[in-house]
Amino acid sequence: MFDIKKIIDVLKNGGLVVMPSDTVYGLCVDATNPKAVDKILAFKERWPGKAISVFVEDFEMAKEYAVINKESETIYSSLIPGPFTLIVEGKHKLSKGIEAEDGSVGIRIPDNKLILELTKKYGKPITATSANLSGRKPHYSVESFLKTLSKKKKEMIDLIVDVGKLPKNKPSTVIDIREPEIKVLRRGELITKNVKTFISKSERETQKIAEYVFEKNKKPIIFGLSGDLGTGKTIFSQEIGKLAGVKEKITSPTYVIYNDYGKFLHMDLYKINNQNEIDELELIKIISEKEIVCIEWIEKLGKDYLAKLNKIFNPPAGRAGLKLITFNYIDEKTREIKL
């Protein structure tokens, strides 16, 4: 579908490519080619000294250009590939203008086939700045981006990879991981407090977190959700159901205990108050026959049944993963979602 060879040719010659990423359209040049980097700085009218993040294939490639210790790699491999930019200490091997004045560099390993394949084949980092002029909004279609450009600017672009309108995802979340306590420098779709804890400020953000967790676990999976009333468990479940291919409306199963949508099972243990009911209703059996399950009020299962589920589902013997997720109320609009 994409002509990777053509993109590589353009990059090799110091060209500027407009390309879709997992978030917005990006401007890509070879981050090790000083001329190409100058071109992008000129194009964006960007203040030199402000960093430009780079796409890399994986941690291996990142480590050639930046300081990433084994510990951060282990911790962050659960977030990446994904919509995050990690700010780390640079090794000053990239062209001038890529690293910030303080020597840091933004590393992006996107959840995007085209870019991962491209970086792999190209073998060098590629700039990952969004397709816009400095200080303007990012673009979700090539058409709207081109409209904002003067004729001169348009002529600077050497290649456009147009895949039409991208979904309205926010740019990546930028986190500075140089200190033990991580700092969120820009809020993207997914906000993390630490690697296992997400912060949601709206229903949409909860949906995004659900999507992210689901994509990370593409195999049969049981989500055990716990948390108070109104912390987003149902919204999370609805989104998982949607991703599992359910076309109908997914409504609260509180009164009927569970709703079976074929591939997806939505269970709510709110009304379960007695362990006998779990056997009587054959809940464990019903769960174990499914591919993708969300169980609200999982804490009502109790320790023994939870251990039983764990045994059935978790590797090495099990065939899937049981993921426990806790939802906490922070304030009226904010929820903390812990994996």
């Binding site: 108070d228 009333l229 109104g230 149902t234 609805q238 409306k249 409504t251 609260s252 509180t254 009164y255 009927v256 205990i257 709703n259 079976d260 949508y261 709110y270 009304k271 379960i272 108050n273 007695n274 006998n276 009911e277 009587e280 209703l281 109320y329 009226e332």
Partner: protein
């Protein structure tokens, strides 16, 4: 046509006897006493109680067909009774899977034993039709049905021709009332308790959000309202809640009903029906009935609602009435042994 109907979709074991469209008996063995302790429908209790009660409930429903006492000696009693039945009707879904199974098993057993025709009925269709008793119907009609498990607006073009034009995106209206009652430390079922307290409460005491403001959407959403209410009262001292319990009940009930009526009215404006209907357990609430009648009057439309409480909540008479129309159309279960519950049955 004599119809024996059985309904066990949730927490009531029900059976009714109909002669065409006329109710001869309508027995509801309400299990509310059993459930009170748990603050909701408890499935195993529902199942056990359904199993324990089904025979007695069916027998009670059949009682009008009994042969007068003095002739009793000759033919076996119940057998004579069942011979007079033409059709057996049963709720197939939607509902609580295990509970549905008890009614279906009983209906199959009776149909096979006495060689009767069987009609499988959708519970929601039953609720819709529950307002048809003693009323003439004009099509198209628009029906609001709200209970613990459902909240829907249904456009009815003819008997058996339904289109859901709006429904809840999350919690049902009755569930929303039940959950709020639990938050306030009140018992189960929450609806009637909240209604009683709300009568003398100030509905403007607590400000709650107006949900789904978009006038193009005919759906309902109660989870946001529930959440908002929960976090407003969560950290209040018990004495404070107790002091204003009537005001909290009134404010919450008002928000639940405002949402129901606002969306129903929008649907009426969009579909321009000739008649309105309102059914389901939540219609037991007199305040809601009053508001609905007022709305209908303003729109210059007739509104029909089940004429007594037992027809609002789950009951078998409504299942029998649906079965009557289905039997007239020849819609019987073809293979009785293969009939299975359908917990998420659509209309």
């Amino acid at each position: 046509m004599k119809i024996l109907a059985i309904e066990t979709s949730c927490d009531d074991t029900c059976s009714a006897l109909l002669d065409d469209k006329k109710i001869i008996s309508n027995v509801i063995s309400s299990q509310i006493n059993l459930h009170k302790k748990w603050g909701g429908v408890v499935p195993d209790i529902a199942k056990r109680a359904h199993k324990k009660r089904i025979d007695a409930v069916v027998e009670r429903a059949m009682k009008p067909l009994e042969i007068p006492l003095r002739q009793r000696r000759l033919p076996p009693l119940t057998k004579g009774g069942f011979n007079a039945i033409d059709v057996i009707a049963v709720t197939q879904g939607p509902g609580l899977a295990v509970a549905l199974g008890v009614g279906i098993d009983k209906a199959k057993e009776l149909a096979n034993k006495y060689n009767k025709k069987l009609v499988a009925v959708n519970h929601i269709e039953g609720h819709i039709m529950s307002s048809f008793f003693n009323h003439e119907i004009k099509f198209p009609a628009l029906c609001l049905t709200a209970s613990g498990g459902h909240t829907k607006i249904i456009l009815i073009r003819d008997f058996g021709k339904y289109e859901i034009v709006g429904e809840t995106l999350d919690d049902a209206a009755g569930e929303a009332l039940d959950k709020a009652a639990k938050m306030l430390g009140l018992g189960y079922p929450g609806g009637p308790i909240i209604e009683r307290l709300a009568k003398t409460g100030n509905e403007k005491f607590l400000e709650l959000p107006k949900v789904l403001r978009d006038n193009k959407i005919l759906d309902f959403s109660y989870s946001g309202l529930k959440t908002s209410f929960y976090y407003k009262i969560k950290d209040l001292p018990k004495e404070e809640i107790a002091k204003h319990i009537r005001d909290y009940a009134a404010s919450y009930q008002n928000a639940v009903f405002e949402h129901l009526i606002r969306k129903f009215k929008l649907a009426v404006e969009k579909y321009k029906p000739k008649m309105l209907m309102a059914t389901g357990g939540v219609m037991c609430n007199l305040e809601l009935r009053k508001r609905l009648r007022k709305m209908a009057k303003e729109l210059d439309l007739e509104i029909i609602m089940p004429y007594k409480k037992e027809l609002n909540t789950d009951n078998a008479a409504m299942i029998g009435l649906v079965a009557y129309y289905k039997a007239m159309r020849g819609e019987f279960v073809k293979n009785i042994d293969k009939l299975d519950r359908e917990a998420r049955m659509g209309l």
